[in-house]
């Protein structure tokens, strides 16, 4: 923070945003000084992207009723209603998805829509619009900008021939090539990069800060924050948990603040009897090639009748384990279920081995949206165990009465809010859809139930219902549960042991009552 002047380049005060009745961001305030690197971190759904959309004037904010609170740029209050305005005020943004034109050179992309122009005979007669693009000038300017960033990249290279990391550099170069840039917003700049590319991006960020440009770094990689940021703001459930100088905190503390949510689950009964030591599922050197959640060699033993929690920060691979066991993403390694080797990469064999899965990707994997509640709940049992059929001549016919009776039972038990068993699942609310997903997994009468992020994006009532159901099935029917979640409070409440995944491997296995510090430390990648 060399250019420490008294006026912050950006100051936001009590900013909030609601979609309908749902407040995704409330009462967030922070100041960013010139040249400061300010990190914003939080789990998925914490409100990071909403905040960013507000700052950059994205149309989605205006179309849904705007935001509350005040934004000051260099001390002057202003409302940003479009990206053009944001750019005019000196805010640059590098999006997570690259916004580059593949068939253009790096230089042309950097100068896109701001091309230097030259007069020619026609333009002298017909005016501005007929001017020639000065390609030589584009080359000189854009190369200078790239050099300023300190990356070795020729501006003449076609963008589509560049490695991903270099595309990121071009994006950053395009933003800082704008003359009045004061604040650069980087959205997850290192999420898709290799380690060495990430290092270069972080180096560039530091360099920008030395030039006096403030950087707003949105990330959930704590390592990046510790390395470059001056200040860090932790968001959780749309609220500003804390803004603190990075020097005054630790990786463990940040992780803990990101996930430490309070949830009242006192209704879940504690386990009374002691668990057997028998191992029902074990994996060795288990690797799953799931984009964004790669598992890079996990060894894990699951004991009979326990609820094993799998926790960790987003992108570290915790989600990949259950998906790999279910055969939904390419997996390698060794998995043994009830003493028999599990045939990997085949959902059918996983079901036959006694596994059932409630996916974290409810919208895509959870249910058939246009089929009825009754049919969704019954489908897994129908297709795997031939249940719910009558024999009629040479056709097995669906026994609709039993299918509906069965659905009614679950609708009552789980309090699914619906017009009846014939309602299409796609028209239910998220929480009720989740209840249908749980019911349909239970219809497989699994011996081992894999549940991933069962409470993501659902209301509190549905959350409690889902968690209680999982606990009850575990206690009453002795179903072993592998429970993957980003929410620490949830893991602590329901699990017997919690395995923390970091960088695709198990960094630690802790008892549910381990201290938050210990769990935070494991999440940030410290191994015992």
């Amino acid at each position: 923070m060399e250019n420490n002047t008294a006026i912050p380049v950006l100051s936001i005060q009590n900013v909030g945003k609601a979609y309908g009745e749902n407040w995704v961001l409330s009462d967030v305030s922070m100041n960013i000084m010139p040249g400061e690197i300010h990190a914003i971190c939080g789990e998925n759904g914490a409100g990071k992207s909403t905040l960013m959309n507000i700052l950059f004037g994205m149309p989605v904010i205006m179309q849904t009723g705007g935001y509350t609170g005040k934004i000051f740029i260099e001390g002057k209050e202003c409302s940003i209603t479009s990206p053009e305005q944001a750019i005019a005020k000196g805010i640059g943004m590098v999006h997570q998805e690259f916004m580059l034109i593949p068939g253009f050179t790096a230089g042309e992309n950097i100068k896109l829509n701001r091309e230097p122009l030259r007069d020619n005979p026609v333009s002298r007669v017909l005016g501005q619009r007929m001017k020639t693009v000065d390609f030589a000038q584009i080359s000189r300017d854009s190369q200078a900008t790239l050099d300023r960033l300190g990356v070795t990249l020729e501006e003449g290279r076609m963008v589509d021939s560049l490695p991903v990391g270099y595309m990121q550099f071009v994006e950053i170069a395009r933003e800082i090539d704008k003359k009045n840039i004061k604040l650069l917003i980087l959205d997850e700049p290192t999420a898709v990069l290799t380690e060495s590319e990430s290092e270069i991006v972080l180096r560039i960020v530091k360099r920008l800060s030395k030039m006096g440009i403030a950087v707003l770094l949105i990330t959930h990689r704590i390592g990046d924050i510790m390395e470059v940021a001056d200040m860090v703001t932790i968001l959780r459930d749309g609220k500003n948990v804390r803004t603190v100088a990075v020097a005054d905190t630790t990786a463990g503390e940040i992780a803990q603040m990101m996930v430490g949510r309070d949830l009242d689950l006192s209704a879940i009964e504690k386990r009374t009897e002691t668990l057997s030591e028998e191992v029902v599922l074990s994996v060795r050197n288990f690797k799953v090639d799931m984009p964004g959640e790669a598992v890079k060699g996990v060894d894990l033993q699951v004991r009979k009748g326990e609820i094993l929690g799998i926790g960790g920060l987003a992108g570290q691979g915790k989600i990949g384990i259950a998906n790999g066991l279910m055969g939904l993403f390419p997996a390698t390694g060794e998995a043994v279920v009830f003493g028999k080797a599990l045939k990997l990469n085949s959902p059918k064999s996983s079901i036959n081995a006694g596994l059932a899965f409630v996916s974290e990707d409810r919208r895509r994997m959870g249910f058939a949206p246009d089929l009825s509640i009754a049919e969704n709940i019954a489908a897994p049992a129908m297709l795997n165990y031939n249940q719910f059929f009558n024999n009629l001549l040479f056709f097995k016919q669906i026994d609709e009465k039993t299918v509906r009776e069965n659905a009614k039972k679950y609708i009552d038990e789980f309090q699914i809010k619906c017009t009846g068993p014939d309602q299409a699942v796609g028209t239910l609310s998220g929480g009720n859809q989740q209840k249908v997903c749980v019911a349909s997994a239970l219809m497989l009468t699994p011996k081992i139930l894999l549940v991933s992020e069962p409470t993501r994006g659902i209301d509190v009532g549905a959350k409690n219902m889902v968690l209680k159901t999982i606990a009850r099935i575990n206690r009453e029917q002795g179903v072993t549960v592998i429970f993957t979640s980003s929410e620490l409070a949830e893991l602590r409440q329901i699990c017997d042991r919690i395995a923390i995944i970091s960088d695709g491997t198990v960094s630690d296995i802790l008892p549910a009552d381990a201290s938050s510090e210990a769990i935070g430390l494991a999440m940030s990648g410290n191994r015992r």
Partner: protein
């Protein structure tokens, strides 16, 4: 009032409009002094004659591959089967049933290949199916041109090789279904056999959709990822659906020909797919939900409309030949409307 509103919503606006339109046309026909009994008899025949082609759309939509734009593939299989039955001089029921059996056989083979191709182009089935259908029709044009048929009914009257553009079945099994157990109510003829046969096929398809395999197809068609997770072989399910669709189309054209009196070869199958598509969409099917009643209701509505509207229009504009133009405008208009609105019967 509320119940009427709900009833209207459940039945769907497009169907109400078309029914109103049909009523207007029938009143027009009465005023013009058209032969009403003949109009109604014709309508009944046309409904039965075209229904299986509309039913053929169902399995394809069921597995999530959309409308079977490549219906012509099934139709040429049926044509080949029909011509073979004529070539072998199989007459009456033997000829018709042999044609149906061969149509199902050829249809299943072509359908499996078609289904495999569709699995390579997931998401653009309708686009690719359309081009593939055209390609197959023109490829078969070359076949018809060179095919070694010898029956004089099939080859050109002047002899040599090559199939005629229309092969009559009048000496073989023309109207064998239509005339079976046919009876008259007043001057209206009811083609009982045709309705029995088509009804039986619809019943089998209905039972199929409620069978285990039908459930597999429906789940796979509605959400592939979910189906995969609960252990369904999605690609296999899609091949079954598309093959069934092709088989039904193949048999459908045999039923069509026995009633119509001709097999139309060469470019005949090209435009055959559009009316059945319009029928099932008009009946209330959407790309996400389809039932056998959609095909049945839709066939009734569109065929009655097309059959009754033409004589009335021709009377109003005597100098014009509106029939084909009218059919194409109505069919494509309905397809366009249904695919852009995507609103089927109310839930």
């Amino acid at each position: 009032m509320e119940t009427i509103k709900r009833g209207v919503r459940k039945f769907g606006m497009p169907r109400i409009i078309i029914i109103a339109f049909i009523i207007v046309i029938l009143i027009g026909a009465l005023l013009e002094g058209q032969d009403m009994a003949a109009l109604i008899s014709d309508s009944l025949v046309r409904v039965g004659q075209n229904m299986l082609l509309a039913v053929a759309m169902l399995p394809c939509i069921l597995v999530g591959a959309g409308l079977n734009m490549g219906l012509a593939i099934g139709i040429v299989c049926g044509l080949l089967a029909g011509l073979l039955s004529v070539q072998f001089e199989l007459v009456s029921w033997a000829g018709f049933l042999a044609a149906c059996a061969m149509a199902l056989l050829f249809g299943s083979i072509a359908g499996v290949l078609y289904g495999r191709l569709m699995n390579m182009v997931k998401g653009s089935e309708m686009l690719i199916g359309n081009y593939l259908g055209s390609a197959v029709v023109y490829l078969m044009c070359m076949f018809w041109f060179a095919a070694p048929f010898t029956n004089s009914t099939i080859i050109w009257p002047m002899g040599g090789t090559g199939v005629r553009t229309t092969v009559p079945v009048s000496d073989y099994y023309e109207k064998i279904l239509n005339n079976f157990l046919a009876f008259q109510i007043g001057k209206v003829t009811v083609p009982t056999g045709l309705f029995l046969f088509v009804g039986a096929v619809c019943a089998v398809v209905y039972l199929f959709t409620r069978s285990r395999t039908g459930t597999v197809l429906r789940v796979a068609g509605n959400n592939q990822a979910f189906a995969g997770m609960i252990g369904v072989n999605v690609n296999r399910a899609r091949i079954i659906g598309i093959a069934l669709s092709t088989m039904l189309a193949a048999m459908g054209i045999v039923v069509y020909a026995q009633s119509y009196g001709f097999y139309q070869t060469y470019e005949g199958p090209l435009t055959m797919a559009f009316t059945p598509m319009a029928a099932i969409l008009l009946g209330g099917a959407t790309m996400r939900s389809v039932k056998i009643r959609h095909a049945v209701i839709g066939s009734f509505l569109i065929q009655i409309l097309l059959t009754t509207a033409l004589p009335v229009c021709n009377q109003l504009f005597p100098e014009s030949n509106l029939s084909e133009v009218f059919r194409i405008i109505i069919s494509n208009g309905i397809i366009l409307y249904a695919l852009s609105q995507a609103g089927g019967e109310g839930r």
